[in-house]
């Protein structure tokens, strides 16, 4: 009987601690959110893989990769189609475009 009672007390006291923990976590999360927001507003937008895939979809011989907003193009393309590809990629406003394409 005493055992059950003390076990119950233990659970209760644990619950209390958990609540405290939750409160602490919430406070921390709020502080972190504030810090994160300031980072987001100052960081420049970077090109995403999905955007790059959309931009190069109509050029089957071309491979494109992005690293820190810098786009690198490899593969082959005709000289006639090159301006349209470059327009499509540069419209994403990347930091730089490395054109390593072989032009047929």
């Amino acid at each position: 009987m005493l055992l059950i009672f003390s076990a119950g007390l233990l659970v209760l006291s644990c619950k209390g601690k958990e609540k405290e923990k939750d409160l602490n976590t919430t406070t921390n999360a709020d502080t972190m959110t504030t810090a994160d927001t300031s980072v987001i507003t100052t960081a420049p937008e970077t090109v995403t893989e999905a955007q790059l895939r959309d931009a190069t979809k109509d050029f089957p011989g071309v491979q494109a990769t992005v690293n820190n907003g810098e786009v690198t193009l490899t593969g082959t393309i005709s000289r006639e189609n090159l301006p349209r590809l470059m327009q499509s990629v540069q419209a994403l406003n990347p930091t730089k475009v490395n054109n390593n394409l072989t032009i047929k």
Binding site: Q51, D54, V97
Partner: protein, 138 residues
């Protein structure tokens, strides 16, 4: 500053051609020219000059982000090379194709989702998302 000299003809032409929100800035040895062209012909002229100064766009020292996309609520022309333009359920090439707009068809721009995708409606009543690069103001 050297880059602005190299691409002087391009910058001067952009200023004269009435590019709105024109911005010329240099970041890490790359010149960025951004703005909105009044029409597709102006955009093409700028790209012809770019290709003349830097043949085949090899130097990697310029990002020319001047688009000529149609504004929401206006009509736009489908400016694909020759094919029809896919109309998709959502803004992304991973989205299913739900219709087509014909080459050189005139469509209505409902809204712009982002720089890349616009929500359009055709005269036949088809509605969905298309790649903004293939829409030119009329």
């Amino acid at each position: 500053m050297a880059l602005q000299e190299k691409y002087k003809e391009l910058i001067d032409t952009a200023r004269k051609a009435g590019i709105s929100n024109l911005q010329v800035s240099e970041q890490n040895n790359v010149l960025h020219i951004t703005g909105e062209a009044p029409n597709a012909a102006t955009k093409d002229t700028l790209w012809d000059i770019y290709n003349k100064i830097d043949p085949d766009f090899r130097a990697g020292d310029l990002v020319l982000d001047v688009n000529a996309s149609a504004a929401p609520g206006t009509k736009a022309k489908v400016v694909t090379e020759s094919s029809n333009l896919n109309i998709r359920k959502g803004p992304g090439t991973d989205q299913p194709v739900i219709g087509k707009a014909a080459h050189h068809e005139i469509v209505t721009v409902m809204s712009k989702t982002n720089d890349q995708w616009s929500l359009i409606r055709t005269d036949n009543g088809a509605e969905g998302y298309v790649y903004s690069q293939y829409l030119a103001p009329v």
